[in-house]
Each structure stands twice: as structure tokens, then as C-alpha cells.
């Protein structure tokens, strides 16, 4: 790859579930340090697109390049690849049988072969960063939704990823907890983390995104900077969508 700034390059990505074609040819790039926000109506394929990026869904056709290497290829080591991509889920998916701290320490210890002390230091630092140092020894079941999601973000950050993927991170939260998670994501973006975020939070898109894409019917209908995207939408479907959600 010639441009070192390009982290992801997606070419003509398609995904079919049975007879349903969910993605019909996605083309885009994600540059280093960029915050790409993906919006679209439900069922449009935006989550599927995100899940293709770390191969939780296997693309049916097309190419995905990450840091210059084609990843939807048999020769690619998916596990090593995923170590460099953090993922945050709508349902948090914390490990309920471990304390918060162990949740964060597990992957660095087993995959990066960190010693217990090193991993513990990393966990403490991240707990501090997400504002929950007092929850180190709590179990996920004892946390609120917002706290769970902040821990889930910390768990992903513990692997020191090159990019963070967020799949509707605030959709399962009570309204009063959305703010704390978005605030943390905003701080993360400001620290220079490359992020791809599927969300319904238009305020976040407007304020934090470097680019916003609108996916409908399995293709990218609009791809703009947020001011242009929200201020002067061109695509008809996007105009209709925005008129409903704003």
C-alpha cells in the first residue's frame, strides 16, 4: 500500500445471508486517526459492515485491506489481526464470571504474554482512564449499563489496538447513561484513536466524527464531513432519514 495513513481499505464488499443480500458493494477507506461514524436505518447493513471489518462476519465477496494486508484471505491470521482491533458491543459482553479487573487483564496476559503485575498495572491505568478505579473487584453483574460499557471499552483498550470498532455502543443503555459512554468515546477520539462507530447518536456524529457515512440498502449512499452531511445532505433517502431522527 502506498498511503501509510490508510488503515482500512474496503473494496466492493458484499455479504449475503442465505438469500438476503445485506451488503451490495461497499467501497470506502478509514484513515489513521479518523473517526468514521456510520448511520442508517435498522436493517440497512451498517452493523454487518462493521462486523466484516474484524471478520466476525465473513465477507461474501470483495476485499478488505487492513494496514496494507488483505484480511479476508485464507492465509491471514485472523486472531493476530483481531488483537489490533478492539470491538465494543451493544450488549457489552463482559465476562460475568470474572471481576472487572480480570476482564481487562485476561487478554493481555494470555495473548500478549504480559506478567500478572504488568497486566494489573495496565488494568489500573485503564480503570483510572474510564473513571471506575473503585470497581476493580466488582463483578459485571453489580455494575450499571453505562459502567459496563466503559469497562468493555477499557477491556478492548488493554490490547492496545490500532483501531476501535463500536457496534451501537449506547443502544442498550438507559438514557441517563448514554452521556458517560459518549463522553469517554469522545475523549478516546481526541487522543487520536482511529474509530469506526455504528450509532444512532446524531449529536455524537456531528460533534466527534471526522466523516459520516449513511448506509442504506447495503450501499454507502452518502459520505461527507459532518457539517456537510447534516447541513446539506444530498441523498434523498438521507434527507428523509434525517428528517425523522433529528
Amino acid at each position: 500500500m502506498t498511503d501509510n495513513n490508510v488503515l482500512f481499505e474496503i473494496k466492493n464488499l458484499t455479504k449475503t445471508f442465505g438469500k438476503t443480500q445485506v451488503l451490495r458493494g461497499i467501497n470506502t477507506t478509514i484513515k489513521q486517526g479518523e473517526v468514521l461514524v456510520i448511520i442508517g436505518p435498522s436493517g440497512s447493513g451498517k452493523s454487518t459492515f462493521l462486523r466484516c471489518l474484524n471478520l466476525l462476519e465473513e465477507p461474501t465477496d470483495g476485499e478488505i485491506f487492513f494496514e496494507g494486508n488483505k484480511i479476508n484471505d485464507k492465509s491471514c491470521n485472523v486472531n493476530l489481526l483481531r488483537e489490533k482491533m478492539g470491538m465494543v458491543f451493544q450488549q457489552f459482553n463482559l465476562f460475568p464470571h470474572m471481576t472487572v479487573k480480570k476482564n481487562i487483564m485476561l487478554a493481555p496476559m494470555k495473548l500478549l504474554k504480559m506478567s500478572e503485575e504488568e497486566a494489573s498495572e495496565v488494568a489500573d491505568r485503564l480503570l483510572e482512564r474510564v473513571g471506575l478505579p473503585d470497581k476493580a473487584n466488582a463483578y459485571p453483574g453489580q455494575l450499571s449499563g453505562g459502567q459496563k460499557q466503559r469497562i468493555a471499552i477499557a477491556r478492548s483498550l488493554a490490547m492496545n489496538p490500532d483501531v476501535m470498532l463500536f457496534d451501537e455502543p449506547t443502544s442498550a443503555l438507559d438514557p441517563e447513561m448514554v452521556g458517560e459512554v459518549l463522553q469517554l468515546m469522545k475523549e478516546l477520539a481526541e487522543s487520536g484513536m482511529t474509530m469506526a462507530v455504528v450509532t444512532h447518536e446524531m449529536g455524537f456524529a456531528r460533534e466527534v466524527a471526522s466523516r459520516v457515512v449513511f448506509i442504506d440498502d447495503g450501499v454507502i449512499q452518502e459520505d461527507e464531513k459532518p457539517e456537510e452531511f447534516f447541513g446539506n445532505p444530498k441523498n434523498e433517502r438521507l434527507k428523509e432519514f434525517l428528517s425523522k431522527v433529528l
Binding site: N54, L56, N79, L80, L81, R82, E83, M85, G86, M87, F89, Q91, N93, L94, F95, P96, H97, L106, A107, K110, L111, Y139, P140, G141, Q142, A152, R155, S156, M159
Partner: protein, 229 residues
């Protein structure tokens, strides 16, 4: 009446130190049940993992076929018949009856443990699996560090119940002339021509064991529920 009672009691337990029959029989019953349980756990987890892996990834097809044959045969035939086949056919050359019984009941129990564990693994939310994989864990690591510990916890009560069943099932060991607890009672009965004391004693010993195990299980269940959930 009272004298007859004392006489029969003495005959059953005191004469020729017959109480030792019961103690030795109990030891053998416990030994078989405990070791068979260990074998059952190992086989059960292996079979369950094979089946789940085959279901989810489409790999291990041949092993899955073998696992299905094993489950069908073991659950479709009586344990007593399995014991007889093991003793008279498969392990004909072995004189070690205890080993035969341990293997038979272990292999038998494994089939039931497998179904319990498989349902336990299936009950774990798919998101747990995806979270593990998205961090970079392999399929096997995700199973080992994330799925199995949760599944094990969920199925512990069902597993304990399976072992209570196993303990009682070992009572057919007498079919291969193994002196377990049940046969000990029967031996004493055949010496004294008195059925009441030996058989009731055997029944009470089983009952006591099961009651203790059941108490243990419900204690365990309560601990698991108050824990981290």
C-alpha cells in the same frame, strides 16, 4: 418378639463379623462411583465440545459422527447389559472386576454428562463468544477461558444429580460378581436366610449417601445464585 429381633440383628451384623461385608461393599461402591464420575466428566466434556464445535464451525465432522454413535448406543442400552458386555466380551481377559465396573459406569455416565454440558455451553450467550474472539482469542482459548467456566457453573447442579444417579446405578455391579454394597447385603441375606436387616441396611446406606449429596447440591446451588449474578 424382642428376642427374635435381637437375634436376627446379631446374626446379620455381629456373627462372623458380618458388618465388615457392608463396610467393604460400601468402600467398593464409593470407589467405583467416584472414579466413574471422573471418567464421565472427562468423556462428557470432550463429547460436548466436539458436538458444539461441529455445530458452530462445521469442523470435526468425523468425530461428531463417532460422538453421535456413542451417545445413541450408550443411552439406548441398559447399563446392566453394558456391564455384562464389558466383562464377558470386551475385557474378557481382565480379572479386575473393579476396573471393569469403573470403565463401564464411566463410559455410561459420560453420555449423560455430555448432554448436560452441551446444553450448558449452548445456554451461554453468543455475545460471550464474539467478545472472546474479537479480543484475539482462538476458538479453543475462547472455549477454555470464557465459555467452559460459565457453562460449568450453570450445569453444576445437573451434573451433581447425574452423579447421584450414577451412585445408585453401580448397584448392578453384582451381575459380574463384584462385591459392592448391594451384593454385600445380598450375601449376608443368603448366609442368614434373613432378608429384612441386610436389605434395609443397604437401602438406608444409599439413602443416607444420596441425602448428603442432595444437601450438598442445594447448598452449591444457593452459593452459585448469591455469587456474582
Amino acid at each position: 418378639m424382642k428376642e427374635e429381633f435381637i437375634q436376627k440383628f446379631t446374626q446379620t451384623f455381629i456373627t462372623d463379623d458380618r458388618y465388615k461385608y457392608f463396610i467393604d461393599g460400601l468402600k467398593i461402591t464409593l470407589l467405583i462411583a467416584a472414579l466413574a464420575a471422573c471418567i464421565g466428566i472427562v468423556i462428557g466434556f470432550l463429547i460436548a465440545i466436539i458436538k458444539v464445535t461441529s455445530e458452530r464451525t462445521g469442523k470435526l465432522k468425523l468425530l461428531n459422527v463417532l460422538a453421535n454413535i456413542y451417545l445413541t448406543v450408550i443411552r439406548g442400552t441398559p447399563a446392566t447389559v453394558q456391564l455384562l458386555i464389558m466383562y464377558y466380551v470386551i475385557m474378557q481377559s481382565s480379572n479386575n472386576k473393579i476396573l471393569v465396573a469403573i470403565l463401564t459406569f464411566g463410559i455410561n455416565s459420560g453420555a449423560y454428562v455430555a448432554e448436560i454440558v452441551r446444553s450448558g455451553i449452548s445456554s451461554i450467550d453468543r455475545g460471550q463468544f464474539e467478545a472472546g474472539r474479537s479480543l484475539g482469542f482462538t476458538y479453543g482459548q475462547t472455549m477454555w477461558y470464557i465459555i467452559i467456566p460459565q457453562a460449568f457453573k450453570n450445569v453444576l447442579p445437573a451434573l451433581a444429580n447425574e452423579f447421584i444417579t450414577l451412585l445408585k446405578e453401580t448397584s448392578v455391579s453384582g451381575y459380574v460378581a463384584l462385591n459392592d454394597l448391594t451384593r454385600a447385603g445380598d450375601l449376608v441375606r443368603s448366609r442368614t436366610y434373613e432378608a429384612f436387616f441386610p436389605l434395609i441396611t443397604v437401602a438406608l446406606i444409599y439413602l443416607t449417601l444420596v441425602i448428603f449429596l442432595t444437601m450438598g447440591v442445594s447448598k452449591l446451588e444457593r452459593r452459585l445464585h448469591t455469587g456474582d449474578r
